[in-house]
């Protein structure tokens, strides 16, 4: 597969390490009353869709960016690639 890196352009997916569901960006509040349940959900339950999937790839043999890749798990088509850092900021992790 080829991942169109937002900075570097097309790169072979073999240069990347995969971690899966981009929901892992949304780490729950450890101080919430529901933290135990929230972290269980965060760490273990996955949507695992057959279709479009936001997922984390690390450009290990490249610029060391974590990316959020929107990929179709049936066709492997890739629709969007973003820097995970930008996604994290957009999801309110800037504190």
């Amino acid at each position: 597969m080829i991942i169109d890196h937002p900075l570097l352009g097309p790169r072979d997916s073999a240069e990347f390490t995969y971690m899966g569901d981009a929901k892992l960006i949304d780490r729950p509040d450890p101080d919430a009353a529901t933290a135990a349940r929230d972290f269980y959900d965060y760490a273990y339950l996955r949507d695992n869709p057959a279709g479009w999937h936001d997922e984390l790839w690390f450009h290990e043999q490249g610029d060391r960016s974590w990316l959020v890749v929107t990929r179709n798990t049936i066709t492997h088509e890739i629709r969007q690639v973003r820097l995970a850092r930008d996604v994290a900021r957009a999801r309110g992790r800037s504190t």
Binding site: M1, D12, S13, A14, Y18, M19, G20, D21, R37, Y40, A43, Y44, L45, R46, D47, N48, P49, A50, H53, E55, R71, T73, I74, T75, H76
Partner: protein
């Protein structure tokens, strides 16, 4: 019809006119006591044991395509029970024991061949871990033997002990491990279940569940609504997709695993060998093909195909230990969609929804588990309590912290 050598001769002499379909092709009835979704190895085995061991009647297996089209027909056919952890070893040993009597039990030659499996050791830490595992196997009633490099070399003289990057320092053998003709397992269970009255309904895709007051009462299918007292799901890589229809999120991801076979060759591999310093394992089929595989492609996938980097990775592993295989040719590669769980171990459990039961999360170890998985799932469906060898395979183990993590990789499914 009972299969036997006599029958084969009789039919040959009478123009093979008497052979009948191995299983019927029935129209779905309006209601069954138990519906199994998924006509793979586990689903068919479940139906078989429900009928045979648990005296259940009015059972149907619903398969969206043709039976055996999923992972049971796409794996590398290895059976073994060389597990480490308490939650696993008794279950897999139960499975191996079931394999050992299976052909006579379901009257089908599945070519179960206990030619042994050997895990190569390449470092002292690996030896320590394998000794611990071998001891766990022996203490659990399975068989295990530690082999020296010389003993291994006697069996595999062409093993690379000359210039191996990671020298071979021995191996853990399970002689009762081996291989089985995978399709025959499907057909044997299907035929055995069918002859006990189970309806095997192919080309029947479940599109939804009908629920009444927190309980499932039937399934919507591509062939219409079918009512059910209980429903068991055994759909492997499609688990998340199916269970999302009842709004369940599962502790698993679907990943593609590739497998490979070479052209037919005269016998060179007596048993199964796994490389301990790379991703490669190999056996030789009765037809002569080297059957081999390695690691997952590594990304979520519902496509039954993989990509080139893993092919190369696997062949590099192969060449690392078997440089004499260089001129053998890879004939065919294919992929199966694995239900990779969060700790690498399966789930056989009730769901929060009444009457709905789940069997999945087999990662890439589902084939060897087929008999025990079917047996234990049948037990759960029939008795509403877990089979004694499968008590640890609970949904809630992740929430309570009772993971069964053989590889120690944590909640990273593609590393199990």
């Amino acid at each position: 019809m009972r299969y036997s050598g006599f029958q084969v001769i009789k039919q040959a002499l009478t123009g093979h006119k008497g052979w009948t379909p191995a299983w019927r092709d029935p129209e779905p009835q309006s209601h069954y006591d138990i519906i199994i979704i998924g006509g793979g190895g586990h689903g068919l085995a479940t139906a078989y044991y429900l009928a045979k061991e648990y005296g259940q009647k009015r059972i149907a297996v619903l398969e969206k395509g043709w039976i055996g089209g999923g992972n049971v027909g796409r794996n590398t056919t290895i059976i073994r029970s060389n597990y480490l952890l308490d939650g696993n070893e008794p279950f897999y040993e139960f499975s191996l024991k079931l394999w050992e009597g299976l052909e006579q039990d379901f009257n089908y030659n599945a070519m179960i061949s206990q030619r042994g499996i050997l895990n190569l050791i390449h470092s002292d830490a690996q030896r320590d871990a394998f000794i611990r595992r071998g001891n766990a196997m022996l203490l659990g009633g399975a068989d295990a033997e530690m082999l020296t490099t010389a003993q291994i070399k006697a069996r595999y003289p062409y093993l690379n002990t000359k210039d191996a990057r990671f020298p071979i320092k021995g191996g853990l053998a399970q002689h009762r491990g081996g291989t089985v003709r995978h399709d025959a397992v499907v057909w044997g269970y299907a035929r055995g279940a069918d002859s006990r009255g189970v309806d095997i309904i192919q080309n029947c895709e479940v599109t939804g569940f009908r629920q009444e007051s927190g309980r499932v009462v039937g399934v919507e299918t591509s062939r219409g609504y079918i009512g059910a007292g209980k429903i068991g799901c055994a759909v492997a890589g499609s688990s998340s997709r199916l269970m999302s229809k009842v709004d369940m999120r599962l502790p698993m991801e679907s990943h593609v695993l590739q497998a490979f076979v070479s052209e037919g060759l005269k016998p060179v591999m007596p048993g199964v060998v796994t490389f301990g310093a790379g991703h490669f394992y190999c056996s030789q089929s009765d037809k002569g093909g080297l059957v081999f595989g390695g690691d997952l492609d590594g990304y979520n996938s519902y496509a039954q195909r993989g990509n080139l980097p893993v092919v190369e990775d696997v062949c590099e592993g192969g060449m690392a230990i078997f440089p004499a295989f260089a001129r053998a040719r890879l004939l065919r590669m294919w992929g199966g969609v694995m239900d990779m769980s969060m700790d690498g171990s399966p789930i056989i459990d009730r769901t929060p929804i009444g009457g709905l039961y789940f069997n999945g999360g087999w990662c890439y170890g589902g084939f060897k588990a087929t008999p025990a998985s079917g047996f234990c799932f049948a037990h759960l469906l029939a008795r509403d309590e877990p089979h004694p060898t499968a008590t640890a395979y609970r949904f809630d183990r992740f929430e309570t912290g009772h993971m069964i993590d053989e590889k120690g990789m944590g909640n990273q499914p593609n590393l199990h």
